[in-house]
């Protein structure tokens, strides 16, 4: 990379670096090889968009994944699953022994793999936006690895579970002691691992956040592919062989409905607003009276939007019915999270749409008003203590309103 006319590193070199990364035992070497791998991935993408809106795949380039590449690669669906499970296990135990070098390496490997998957998907996604050519997306690593029906359902579901458990184990609401992070930090610094206990502890702490983000990115990539696939399907581009199993969104909802303890910590950590809002709204749609909502494309219709959901809480009787079905705690929690995701999306829309329309501002105020009345209605129905998070939602809604008065 240092020379003026850099040449692409050979297959052998990449593989050697990857091997060093997986085998080495010192922190220094781990970080250095990780950095090199990430840099190489950035510098020499296997997939890129050529000027004529075409996706170019450099077939001879090295990739850590088995699929699509002849003879090379080391990671396939099942080893990826094992990796995710290892990370999840280590994080759930939260013991100092489990959070050593090995866990650090696993987390870094996971992040690297997600970066590779992303590098593979993004150019295809960009071209898809222009041309609606499903074929390119179909060829993507992430589709081949996870979305395609060739992947056994059980493996798929296990992966989703592991991902969710990684995410929720990093939430500070999850464990009894409220500051999980603190706990890990204490654990790590109370032991002396060879010469770099403190160094390792800082490294692990940093990687926790980044791993959580990598998992979220991974999930949202799959959801993105799901959406594209559905669109392609409606236009008849998806062959019957590819089928359309349950989407990730549905799988996540299944897991969350089944395991209610996961719900709060998952939403607490999962921070990609667009998908978060989708997940929450779909969750609501199971309970709303007019539960005829399926896709995001039916947004024009009143239900399936946040406004629609808030309507279910607009008067005392409706609220009572909703709360009976889904419990006060869950209702408050979901409303607050939807509100937060809505605010983030609102800001992004404001930025792209340039201020000239007042409609966005009006609907924001309307949402804030409905939020407050929803909370009041829930409150008159049954008195349940609000969490810090929910208080924040109410507080912000009232602040935004009073600012505009």
């Amino acid at each position: 990379m240092a020379s003026d006319t850099p040449t692409m590193p050979t297959w052998k070199m990449c593989e050697a670096i990857f091997e060093i990364f997986r085998e080495c035992s010192t922190l220094e070497l781990t970080m250095a090889s990780y950095q090199l791998l990430v840099e190489l991935n950035k510098r020499y993408p296997r997939v890129y968009v050529a000027s004529s809106c075409k996706v170019v795949v450099v077939e001879e380039a090295w990739s850590p994944f088995v699929c699509g590449v002849e003879g090379g690669g080391l990671i396939d669906s099942s080893s990826f699953l094992l990796l995710a499970q290892d990370v999840a296990q280590a994080l759930i135990k939260m013991e100092s022994q489990s959070l050593g070098m090995r866990c650090l390496r696993d987390m870094l490997l996971f992040q690297y793999l997600v970066k590779v998957l992303e590098g593979d998907l993004l150019p295809r996604y960009a071209v898809y936006k222009e041309t609606s050519d499903w074929f390119m997306v179909k060829e993507s690593l992430i589709n081949a690895l996870w979305v395609s029906p060739r992947v056994p359902r059980l493996t798929y579901k296990n992966l989703v579970k592991s991902c969710l458990s990684i995410i929720s184990s990093l939430s500070h609401h999850h464990s009894e002691s409220s500051y999980q992070h603190q706990q890990i930090a204490d654990n790590l610094s109370s032991k002396t691992v060879h010469d770099c206990g403190a160094a390792l502890s800082i490294a692990v702490m940093t990687q926790l956040e980044d791993t959580s983000f990598a998992v979220q990115k991974f999930l949202s990539m799959i959801m993105e592919v799901d959406v594209m696939k559905k669109e392609a399907d409606s236009q008849g581009y998806v062959s019957r062989g590819e089928g359309s199993g349950s989407s990730l969104l549905e799988t996540i909802l299944d897991v969350l409905t089944y395991d209610k303890d996961l719900l709060s910590p998952f939403l607490q950590v999962f921070s990609i607003p667009r998908w978060k809002l989708d997940i929450v709204l779909q969750y609501f749609s199971k309970y709303c009276k007019r539960s005829s909502v399926r896709t995001r494309r039916s947004n024009e219709v009143d239900d399936g939007t946040f406004e629609g959901v808030l309507k279910c809480f607009s008067n005392a009787t409706d609220t009572k019915a909703m709360v009976r079905k889904m419990s006060t705690e869950v209702a408050q929690l979901l409303l607050s999270h939807a509100f937060q995701a809505y605010l983030f999306l609102h800001r992004d829309n404001k930025n792209t749409a340039k201020s000239d329309d007042n409609g966005g501002e009006k609907s924001l105020l309307h949402i804030c008003k409905s939020m407050i009345s929803a909370f009041k209605n829930i409150r008159t129905n049954e008195h349940v203590d609000m969490t810090q998070f929910e208080k924040g939602a109410l507080f912000l809604a009232s602040k935004i309103l009073s600012r505009n008065e």
Binding site: S25, Q35, E39, Y179, S189, I202, S402
Partner: protein, 469 residues
Amino acid sequence: MRMRLEDPLDFESEDQHIRTSRSINKRRRKVIGLDDLLNDHYEEKIRLEEKEAKKRRQKRYDSDEDDDRARNGKEALLSRFVADCQKQVSEMVAEDEIPTWGLRLFGPKKDPLQWDFTRLGNCKLLEASVDSMINSMLELDSEEGDNFLEGLLMNGWLSNWVFTCGHVEDSIALWAFYQMLYSTNEELQISACDFWCSVLRNDTEVDASIIRLDWHPKYAELRDALNIYGYLMDSSANYSSHSTAVHEDSQIDGPPHNIKSWIKFLTACFCARYARQIFSILEVEEALGGIIFLFVDRHLQGISYFISECMLSALSFFTDDEWNISCESIANGLANRIPKDMNCVRVLECISVVNARSKHLRNKVALQILLNCFDMKVSSMKDILRFLLAISVKDKNCDFFKMYRNLVLIDNWLLSDPPLDEKPTILELWNRFLRNCSSQITSTDWRSYASKVRNKSSYLLQNQRKDPQ
């Protein structure tokens, strides 16, 4: 017991079935035997390789893998003999002889400035609502303001608020800044850092609405924070090497975890719209030198990735004109400060060459260190190379570490083109030097660094041939 069970009973001896299965069993056992042998072999190999790895701890991927493997074999053989003869005692000596990089940059921590919580009192955000029902639901009276604010921050509502109203009050900005740098609550500290970074980054995004900041930090405040973390400013005499066993109290020193937020925050600052208000050019030079210096603290090797990002973002601060001058002074500063041992090799390797500026910097740093090493006795590169050529590698007192260091330094310096009129001579001398090193050091020379010098130079020589210069 198992053997007994598998032995045929009398009446079974006629049974063809049993006999074949027995022979299979036998064969299986034999195979297992082979496996065991193989395992033993591998275990031994791994053990030897580990020994090797210890010796070459500092070494990175600087030579071709094949080459490495072949050499490994030979050296493995050799080191086994050496190990057998000299036993543990000699091993200890060998360990001591090879220094590794690593300096303690952080001493005992100082007490952070006390945050005056009354300053939040006149904060508009926390004023009670006119709606008494909302107030009672929030129970704001019974709770202390800062507790509630912490909740808002950690749950992301503070960012929501700031992005919606496009304004950060000074008391909130200051409070979050303080939490980010000094809070010992990991969660709070991370949230505060995320908050600040997203505010700063917001401005660099295209068509983002601008957020008005009533207060933003100054460089002096960031430097103070480093001071409070125990950073030993410029007093190179005080740095003690990591390799000299001070591990017992490693929990006491070493920077607090907030250093990570400090680095991330700085990274965001350099790119922010406010960057010019936060730093002067001289201050960025100082900061950049400091950031690069962080690479040599072993406590921070786990976050070298962030340090590297921070360095790149600082590089982007300068305009082209500023850069040419600043680069010199940064290189000078670094070269004067850094010990001329493995640490300078580490620093060079960590200045990752991903763009023109970082390449320029690496190359200038290499040159400055090189000149410092020769105490300015020599003025030109030609002289340095001639001086090096005069060293005989056969000499018993030849310092191979210095040879190795100079190899790395000159190689990095050559990244940029030397002045045209000197170029042919320099390349000629450089080639001669490389040939000397690669051919005159025998492969069985076990003095520390001898093999490293040999390999590095033959690797570089090979690359030279590839380039038709």
